[in-house]
Symmetry: C3
Subunit: 213 residues, 3 copies
C-alpha cells in the first residue's frame, strides 16, 4: 500500500469514526437501547457511501471487509461508555463531524471521477456521500434534517467539491495536497459558520408571513 | 431523434420541471437555505426515477447526462426568484404537479414493459416512479406524506397505469396517443378529486374511535 | 421442489403475510385511504428484502414473480374487511409480526451466506431484512421507529442470527432444524420481552437530565 492509498484509507477511517460518534450520541439523546445506538451509528456512518455505491452500481464498500463494521461497533461501544464525558467532548465531536463531512465528500467525488462521470455529477455524488448519512440519522430519529437549513452544511460540501475540481484542473498541486486542502476548507467553512452563525441569505423569506405549518 | 423519442423526452422534461417546482416551493415554506431548496428540488424530481432504476438494476437516468441536473437547478433558482408570485402560481403549480405525476407514471410503466416484466409489476413501477419523489420530499420536510390519504394521488397512478395497459392491449391507438390519453386521464382524476374533495371510501373507519395517536 | 425449498418458500410467504398485516393495520390507524393502505402494506412487507437485494446487487425478489404481490394485495384487502376484528386479532397479529421478524432474519442471513460474505456481515444483512420493512413503515407513518428502543426488536434479530451461525457451525443439526429453532428463539425472545417489559439496560441514561428535545 503506497502513500496515496494510505492517505485514502486514513481519510475513510477517520470519517467513519466521526460519523459513528455523531450517530451514537444522537441516538443516546433519544434514549435508544444499546443495539439501537449501534444501528443508528452504523446507518449514519455508512449511509452516504451506501447510497453512492448503489447509484454507481459498484460493490457496497462495507460488505466485503470487516474493518468498517468493526470500527463502527467499537466507536459506538466507546461512545456509550464515555457518554458522561459528552460536555467536554462537544467541541471535539463537532470537529470530528466537520472532518467527517470533508473526508466523505472527497471520497465520493473521487469515486465519481474514477467512474468517468461529469464533474458536476461528481460534486453531486460528493455531496450525497457527505450528507446522506446525517439525513438518514435525522429521519430515523424523527427530526427535521438540520443540514438543510443550518450552519451551511450542504453548502460547505458543494463549495469544497467545486474547489477540489478547480484545484485539480488549474494548479500543479499533487492529488494528496489538493485533498488535504479541500478537507481543511470544508472544516474551516463549517467552523466559521457555526461560530459566527452564518446562514445562507434567504432572499425569498421576507415575503413570507405565517405560511409555515 | 424521431417523433416518439421527442415525445418521451418532452414528457420527461416537463415532469422534471413540475416536480422540481413542487419541491422548491415546499422547501421554501419550511425556510430551508438556498442549497437546501436545490437539494429538495433535486430529490423530489429524481427520487422516483432513481428508485425505479435501482430496482431495475439499470443506469440511473440522471447520472450520465447533465440535462436533468441543469433543468432542476434552473427551475429551482427560478422558483426562488419568483417566490412572490406564488399565490398566482398556485393553480399553475397544481396543474404542473398533476402532469408530473401522469408523465412519470407512464415513463416508469414503459421502462417496466421494456424490461419484460409482468404488467402488474409495471403498474407498481409506474406508481413508484410517480409517487416516490413526493414521498421522499415529505419525509425530508418532516411531514406525513399526504399522498397516502388525500386527493386520490396513488389511486390516480394505479387507475392511469391500468388504463394504459388496457388501451395498449385492446385498442389500435398508437403508443403516442395512448400515452397522451393516459396522462390526461391522470390529470383529470387528480383535478376532479381536488375540486370536489373526492376521497376513497374508507369503509374501515367507522369502527374507529380515538385510536389515533 | 424438494423439502428444503418448500420450507424456504413457506417461511417467506408467512413472513410476507405477517408484515403485510402489520403494515395494513398501522396504515388504517392513521386513516390512510385504501390504496394508501395497500402501498404501506407493500412497503412494510418487501422493504427489508428489497434493501437486502439492492445491497447484494441481485434481482429484487418480488419483481420477477407475482406471488409476493398477490399475497400482499390479498392480505391487505382481507385486513381492511376484517378491521372490526382487530381487538381479537391483537395477539394473533403480534405473533405473526414476531414470526415475520424471525423468518425474514433467517432468509437474509441465508442469502448473505450464499453470497459468501463474512458471518458478521450476514448477521447485519439478516437484521436489515428483518427490521427495515418496519422502519420504513414507521418513517412513512411519521412515527419514531419503535424498534430502536422498545421490546428488544433489533436485539432479537442479532441474537437469533448469531445463534443460527453457531448452531450451523458447531452442531450436527440439519439446516431445516436449525432454521426452525432460530425462528422459534427469535419469537420467544420477542414474546418474553413484551410480556415482561424487558428492555436492554441503558447504562448511559442516568447521567441524562432533560437533554431530550
Amino acid at each position: 500500500m503506497d502513500f496515496h492509498q494510505n492517505l485514502n484509507f486514513i481519510i475513510e477511517m477517520l470519517g467513519t469514526i466521526a460519523f459513528a460518534m455523531s450517530g451514537s450520541f444522537a441516538a443516546m439523546q433519544k434514549k435508544f437501547d444499546p443495539f439501537g445506538v449501534v444501528i443508528i451509528a452504523f446507518i449514519t456512518s455508512v449511509g452516504g457511501g451506501t447510497v453512492r455505491d448503489l447509484l454507481l452500481n459498484i460493490h457496497i464498500f462495507w460488505m466485503h471487509d470487516l474493518t468498517t463494521c468493526s470500527i463502527i461497533f467499537t466507536t459506538s461501544i466507546f461512545s456509550m461508555i464515555f457518554k458522561s464525558l459528552e460536555k467536554n467532548f462537544q467541541v471535539t465531536l463537532f470537529i470530528f463531524d466537520s472532518f467527517g463531512l470533508g473526508l466523505f465528500t472527497i471520497i465520493g467525488l473521487q469515486k465519481g471521477l474514477n467512474a468517468d462521470l461529469h464533474p458536476i455529477i461528481c460534486v453531486v455524488l460528493g455531496t450525497i456521500t457527505g450528507c446522506f448519512g446525517g439525513i438518514l440519522r435525522d429521519v430515523l430519529l424523527h427530526k427535521v434534517p438540520l443540514i438543510f437549513r443550518k450552519e451551511i452544511y450542504a453548502t460547505a460540501c458543494i463549495i469544497g467539491g467545486t474547489s477540489f475540481l478547480l484545484l485539480s484542473k488549474y494548479t500543479d498541486l499533487s492529488n494528496a495536497v489538493t485533498k488535504i486542502l479541500t478537507i481543511l476548507l470544508i472544516v474551516i467553512i463549517r467552523t466559521l459558520a457555526v461560530k459566527y452563525h452564518w446562514e445562507m441569505p434567504k432572499f425569498y423569506i421576507d415575503k413570507e408571513n405565517s405560511k409555515l405549518k
